[in-house]
């Protein structure tokens, strides 16, 4: 404020002559600058307007519009697609639980030290390499078609079941790496303290290391969950009647693709809030770390 006093400019003078009481702090900081906002809005309008213009001007647009953006078809297909989407959500929740558990177990295999656990460690390493390297779609097809074809007695034969197994196996490979990065990020001193207190390796993991590690990786795990929510749709290729499959059934009957857009909209309605929530958690986590300083 002293610099303002020493350099009286027109702006400064205007502030002084304003009606604001002298006791009130200057409000310059809280003023919103409109120019950048206007520029952003204008550029968005220009870019998308141009794209829309060219799309709408194309020769095929009226046909595409009928086939993809048919409101009546959307309304008609909505109940079936929604029912399918509900199945998506159920599969999603089941997968989150099974992936969270299986990946945690794999992580334990991976991080336990000592010659006794060497076979488990090797298993976990090979597992992650293998399942991270195979496309999830391929796993879904192999499991859902392959295993029931073996006709092993007492084994479930539903495509839904084996599809969930395939997704779990595939995503657990990624989740294991996430868990492990969280464990690696826990300071070595914590391990030394746990050991010095007499905790065994497993006790140290359970009571000292894992609670901190999981807190570290919650945002990353939720990110995986967002991706998983969409990938559940892969099960549609093995005949699971999820949103995508229902949309496809409608399309096959009517040759109208609008049902797919219904499915897309349903996915967006759930993933966007979820993604925002992850962003929020990540930001909060970063702030916590900055505040917490070094311990």
């Amino acid at each position: 404020m002293s610099s303002g006093d020493s350099s009286p400019g027109p702006r400064n003078g205007a502030d002084r002559s304003g009606a604001a009481a002298p006791a009130r702090p200057p409000r310059r900081q809280r003023e919103i600058s409109w120019l950048p906002i206007l520029v952003s809005i204008a550029s968005v309008v220009v870019v998308f307007g141009t794209i829309a213009h060219f799309v709408a001007r194309s020769e095929q647009w009226p046909r595409i519009k009928r086939q993809f953006f048919n409101w009546d078809a959307m309304v008609e297909s909505f109940p079936d697609v929604l029912r399918g989407f509900w199945l998506n959500l159920e599969i999603w929740v089941i997968c989150i639980v099974s992936i969270g558990t299986w990946a945690l177990l794999l992580t334990l295999f991976r991080v336990l030290r000592g010659p006794l656990f060497a076979p488990l460690r090797v298993f976990a390493i090979v597992y992650v390499d293998l399942f991270r390297g195979i496309p999830a779609l391929l796993l879904v097809v192999l499991f859902a078609f392959g295993i029931p074809a073996l006709r092993i007695p007492n084994l479930p034969s539903s495509a839904l079941f084996w599809g969930i197994v395939a997704m779990t196996l595939s995503y657990s490979a990624y989740a294991t790496e996430v868990y492990r990065s969280g464990i690696d990020a826990v300071h070595d001193g914590q391990r030394a303290a746990a050991k010095a207190l007499g905790l065994t390796q497993l006790q140290a993991l359970r009571y000292a290391i894992l609670p901190q590690a999981i807190r570290n990786v919650v945002p990353a795990l939720l990110n995986l969950a967002v991706a998983l929510q969409k990938d559940v749709a892969l099960l549609s290729v093995v005949g699971v009647r999820d949103a995508v499959r229902e949309a496809q059934i409608y399309m096959n009957q009517t040759f109208n693709y609008s049902s797919y857009l219904v499915a897309a909209a349903l996915f967006l309605v759930t993933t966007i809030p979820l993604a925002r929530f992850v962003d929020y958690l990540t930001r909060r986590d970063r702030e916590r770390r900055l505040q917490g300083g070094m311990i």
């Binding site: 300071h187 030394a192 050991k195 010095a196 901190q212």
Partner: protein, 247 residues
């Protein structure tokens, strides 16, 4: 009575010999300070004594029994020898009470109520009762370190190892931690202290060992070692310390 005997202890980090035939014996209720420059091996020696790190040759005896003897079981040694670290290493997700009761409850099977009762007693004894339900990040460095000391006392150890426990503290917080260590000395705790606080080492310890290059160069009562060091290397080290205004 001799509590801890270190006998020709040798340890390598790769090619480097960090401990080179250390001989040291520590009597019950004795307080021994280990001093020396960084890298002299004093912290490693401390961590060998409670098997936080393994050594390559020599032996360490606790009450005449080798510390790797089966009779200690998986965690018996850790109950009898506690350690406090420079960086506190409290568990940040656990409250003060949970930090203190974790080892008694999970490692030694003390019932929860009993463990908490004991923890309350210890906190009261060291004037820390008001921190009981707080989390480490809510405490000052000095308070955290005092909680860490209490945590290591919760299993009733016979020997306490202190590894530069004031090294990470602001100067004005060092006093409260040193006071607790003095209290422990008065209560008869056997302690091995690695420290850079020479004044404190002189005041609180019964014996001071000067380490350099993984060997104990000089070993004597603090008055003699600090005022009339015999070995030229000890003299040189202390001259540097005095020049730095640390004594």
């Amino acid at each position: 009575m001799t509590r801890v005997v270190v006998d020709r202890l040798t340890k390598f980090f790769g090619e480097k010999r960090v401990l080179d035939g250390i001989d040291l014996s520590i009597g019950a209720h004795e307080v021994v300070a280990l001093i020396g420059a960084s890298g002299s091996g004093k912290s490693t020696l401390l961590r060998c004594i409670n098997r936080l790190v393994d050594f390559d040759a020599g032996r360490i005896l606790l009450d005449g029994v080798s510390i790797d003897h089966d009779s200690f079981g998986a965690n018996g040694l850790y109950r009898r020898i506690g350690i406090v670290f420079q960086s506190f290493n409290l568990f940040p997700h656990l409250s003060v009470l949970q930090n203190i009761t974790l080892a008694p409850r999970k490692v030694h099977g003390v019932p929860r109520r009993e463990a908490e009762e004991a923890a309350r007693g210890l906190l009261a004894m060291f004037g820390m009762s008001e921190c009981i339900s707080q989390y480490p990040e809510q405490l000052s460095g000095g308070q955290q370190q005092r909680v860490a000391i209490i945590r290591s006392l919760a299993t009733n150890p016979d020997v306490l190892l202190l590894d530069e426990v004031t090294g990470a503290l602001d100067p004005e917080l060092i006093g409260e931690v040193l006071r607790i260590i003095r209290d422990l000395k008065d209560k008869g705790m056997t302690m091995v202290i690695v420290t850079h606080e020479m004044g404190f080492a002189r005041d609180v310890s019964d014996r001071v060992c000067y380490l350099e290059g993984g060997r104990i160069i000089e070993d004597g009562p603090p008055r003699e070692l600090f005022s009339r060091p015999q070995h030229p290397r000890t003299q040189k080290f202390l001259e540097r310390i005095i020049a730095a205004g640390r004594l």
